[in-house]
Homo-oligomer: 120 residues x 2
DNA sequence: GTAGGATCTTCAATGGTTTGAATATTCTAA
DNA sequence: TTAGAATATTCAAACCATTGAAGATCCTAC
């Protein structure tokens, strides 16, 4: 079994990319944030997201097909939950990276403004 | 300033999604893996990736535009490096999630095979 | 200083993939 | 069987990746 399939990049890179890509959508990020504190029904999620039922279901199924979510049925409702808690950590890390990056540009901006005020 | 822009999902979710999506491509995952141990030139990366120069440059620029990478020029070469080390952590977390998920399906498969061998 | 070569980036066109919305279908509980 | 809920399918529009050509930028050597 070759490490590098026809595509070009190694299998492991491809697997990571698949996971990150499925997480890389605003609706799906919102879903994970909603599920951070525990399971919820599809109808509940749909309402919180402000989406059509069909669209909600499609995003949920994308996440489940990569094993990010799992579901159980109870009567007429289906409950979804996050399968691996490290998925939440991953999103939290993403948040930290973004925050740092924004803080850096903020402080750069402040420096530029200071300089403008004092120079010449 | 509204939390929820016209798009639908909150700004924060959108920002996270942008970051995760730019990381969600096999070539860009490979780039980050190559840069894990330190900076490298574009030509070096290009060769390791097996890509066209222009394609390499565009992936690098996508990563830089979201502040994932930074670069410096030295003579005719440009060196790229990872800006925030937590980006590496994020990829590592992704790897762990995938590994666990694969192990789970492996053991499920093993159970199925055992049952097949002993039943009837 | 300027011609040539090397490295990297940008641009525009193409082909492919993903998304969103609407509709149809399946599933479940009563 | 019927209503309600969830999922699957479809198709047009938006988006992304790749390619090749042209454009910068910098070094070296004459």
């Amino acid at each position: 079994m070759p490490d590098r399939p026809a595509g070009g990049q190694p299998r492991v890179s491809q697997a990571k990319a698949r996971l990150l890509r499925v997480l890389g959508h605003p609706v799906r990020v919102s879903i994970l944030e909603l599920l951070r504190d525990g399971e919820r029904t599809v109808g509940d999620l749909q309402q919180a997201l402000g989406l059509e039922a069909s669209s909600t279901s499609q995003h949920l199924s994308a996440l489940r097909s990569l094993d990010v979510l799992e579901s159980r049925r109870e009567g007429t409702n289906v409950y979804y939950r996050i399968k691996d808690p490290r998925t939440t950590d991953l999103l939290e890390t993403a948040r930290k990276i973004i925050t740092t990056s924004l803080e850096d540009s903020q402080s750069l901006l402040a420096q530029l403004n200071d300089r403008e005020a004092t120079e010449d």
